[in-house]
């Protein structure tokens, strides 16, 4: 198959002035020292493909594959290159042109046939839980990555969680696809915080995966289909904000759902805006924070989670070096590019362990899974938890 690279926009590509300020912000450049594994290099490559000044070369697809999509480059780029949009379009174009890659076809199939369907996903979650009990999951690398699964997150009866005290806001909450299965405790904590903050929480019935994983992996058609279904669902209710406690989903909803413009809020962004009541309990714990790329770079939210954590009485907050550099999880990346993912994780763990914190707080399930697996392999007992859980320690 060939591609005419129709999804890539020449005007988007032309915003890159080739200054190179992005290079050292890129995790794969920092590891390889190679321009081909840098944002500037990838943009240059896609530009040549788009303009037809370089023939498409199957061997060069790996440079696009190796991009984490962390968008750190986008946050440091002075000329405003919309890298997130470029790499999503580029990946979609590359999918049309590349020679079939079994692993990627497999992941696309899994996304379309499993992740897009809540009922099938629930079944798979149950099966995985059973397999874990029988110690079958440790055989595969991806199995070892998984956290110990608990009972999945279930929204309350009637799909409404009432505000505690006076109702000040009504928010919709994204339950999402894999998060209720992998980290139900994050959702429970997030919803409780919202209730404490005077929000009535509505769980839109029929809501499906937001499509982020699809878009990040070059399946824009799949993502568009999910958007269509979800948009109908959201139209059926009224809400002040759609609150999201997974950074990857939040970034995607903000970029990809024009109808929700201005109403998608990351949990920490929303809580910082509406305020949470004074903590009730005193805690004593040393905490560090790992930025989620799609929160820090795609949504430019770094201050709010830190401010919320610092505000808890008794939390000793310690800033980690390179906190805003990717941990190597990057959605399906850890499965699709395990070697690079591991090299990035190894560097990350050095910085994490150097903080001597008891808890690493995160804002995205992928980061949590990656850091948990890495710390487990190093025999560390540092705990990884969602920012909602850290905040709930005080209540």
């Amino acid at each position: 198959m060939t591609s005419n690279f129709s999804r890539l926009s020449d005007d988007d590509l032309a915003t890159c002035v080739h200054c190179g300020l992005c290079l050292d912000a890129c995790p794969t450049f920092r590891i390889t020292g190679l321009e081909t594994e840098s944002p500037r290099g990838r943009i240059y490559l896609m530009t040549q493909w788009k303009r037809g000044t370089l023939e498409f070369d199957q061997e060069q697809v790996k440079h696009i594959d190796l991009c984490l999509g962390c968008r750190t480059c986008e946050a440091v780029c002075p000329s405003g290159v919309p890298y997130g949009r470029i790499i999503e379009a580029g990946r979609a174009d590359v999918e049309d042109a590349r020679r079939p890659a079994p692993k990627r076809l497999g992941s696309r199939l899994a996304l379309r046939q499993l992740v897009a369907h809540p009922a099938r996903l629930r079944l798979a979650g149950n099966a995985t839980r059973l397999a874990q009990r029988l110690h079958l999951t440790s055989i595969a690398r991806s199995g070892r990555m998984l956290p110990r699964l608990r009972a999945r997150y279930c929204p309350p009866e009637g799909n409404i969680a009432p505000a505690f005290g006076e109702r000040k806001h009504r928010v919709a909450f994204l339950v999402g696809c894999v998060m209720p299965i992998l980290y139900p405790q994050s959702h429970y904590a997030a919803v409780k915080l919202l209730q404490l903050a005077g929000c009535e929480v509505w769980f839109p019935p029929g809501e499906r995966c937001c499509g982020a994983l699809f878009a990040h992996n070059g399946d824009l058609k799949g993502a568009e289909r999910l958007r269509e279904a979800n948009t109908k669902t959201y139209r059926a209710g009224s809400f002040d904000a759609l609150v999201v406690d997974s950074a990857g989903c939040g970034a995607h909803l903000k970029d990809f759902y024009p109808e929700l413009k201005g109403r998608v809020k990351d949990l920490t962004e929303w809580l910082a805006e509406v305020g949470i009541p004074a903590p009730q309990k005193k805690v004593k714990v040393r905490v560090t924070y790992q930025d989620a790329c799609h929160l820090a770079h795609a949504q430019r939210i770094k201050k709010q989670p830190r401010d919320l954590i610092r505000a808890v009485d008794g939390i000793e907050f310690v800033e980690m070096r390179h906190a805003d550099i990717c941990c190597g999880a990057a959605g399906l990346y850890s499965t699709l590019e395990p070697d690079m993912s591991q090299r990035i994780l190894d560097q990350k763990l050095e910085d994490v362990l150097a903080t001597k914190a008891e808890v690493v707080t995160v804002a995205n399930p992928g980061c949590q899974m990656q850091l948990e697996a890495g710390l487990r392999a190093r025999g560390s007992n540092m705990k990884v938890e969602h920012v909602a859980e850290t905040l709930m320690r005080a209540f």
Partner: protein, 479 residues
Amino acid sequence: MLPSPIVEELRGVVGRESVIVSPNDLRIFERDGSIEGALPDAVVLASTTEHVAEVMKIAARHKIPVVPRGAGTGLSGGAVTIRGGIALQVTRMRRILEVDPVAQTALVEPGVVNQELSLVVAQHGLFYAPDPSSQKACTIGGNAAENSGGPHCLYYGVTTNHVLGMEVVLADGSVHWVSGDTPDRTGLDLCGILVGSEGTLCAITKIKVRLLRIPPSIATMLAAFPSIETASQAVSAVIGRGIVPAALEMMDSVTVGAVEAHYHAGYPTDAGAVLLVEVDGTAESTRELMAAIAKVLDENHGYGLREAQTPAERELLWAGRKGAIGALGRIKPNYYLHDGVVPRSRLPQVLSAVGEIGEHYKLPVANVFHAGDGNLHPNILFDMRDKEVLHQVESAGEEMLRAVVELGGALSGEHGIGLEKAAFMSWIYSEDDLGAMHRVKDVFDPTGILNPGKIFPDDARRTVHLAGRTGLAVEAKWW
């Protein structure tokens, strides 16, 4: 293409994965931060001094050009392999080998990123002074090769004032230390010759740098001016009073507009020009100095004077200044600039000349520069996809530089001569001058394999070719 036995030899030194010869991949390495490009025949990634030395020996044996390359953020084509050959990448040599907080020195590998060094030594209350605007990404090795400047070099001096010694590899693969641990360079100052030699005399493999104590107090002020001329008069007035701020930077309204769009740092978008002034020292001295400067600016049509109130505010102002050239991408996808220097007193004249040239060619020009040093950066903004305009851009750039020279200035303040300005060297230097430089070059690199086609005018290349592959003129291979 390198013959495969040579590729195998190189792979034997650095490993299979560290030699890139795929023609399509090589395309990604054809440019640096400037706009001209040419394909290397191979990219070789060195991890140690031994790698660099062995690669150099192979290149010497086969007379293959070698161009050392860091992050490729240079603005004069210094890292462009204009005669092909080996791009010798040092980005994997990024260890800080030692920091001596008492002697206030650090020994670093060439691939260490400028800002990373300052971040690491900050725990000792120290910093590395030269701060090119690309410091987030550019390497200390590249800085030493280009003798880079930066906003704070007005007061602190440029890279050569902060390099105590270097380990270098010469064209025959021999490894040497030049100068050493103390600021005094005794005997013939070989280190002084090699810093700023733009890769034409040696490859740099280790650098011993001087670190400075972070000043206890820093004050940063922003002032608006009705026009770029009034702002330049204010600059002359400040320096004329005998005040040397740590930094004194100017941006015109075009630049401010682009910068504000990304950084929201609070630069006034309605001003004709803005000055960013910084002083440091003790709390008392900064207060006094800033008051004196404010008075001068006020007397010279400055308005809306505003001092940064918090470190965060200060950092944001600087982030805006340092990202300014990149931010111009919001206006047009390409920029072309020469960093000519004029005596400070000539700033108003040269800036009106620059403005007139831009108008003559109907090309937008954005000025952002180290005003205190008289170091211009007139960025001609254009779109490379518009082939019609390329020739005009070249001519306008050349005329601007000509204006600089006619006003008693020099070709480059900090970016280096590289590829872009080599053709203009004869405006400043006589045949004899250039002959003397050639004799120095011959001592270090008798076969001429180190970064050929740079600094020295090349008879075959009278003009600059704007490119990045679109209108590219690759020179015939000479080896």
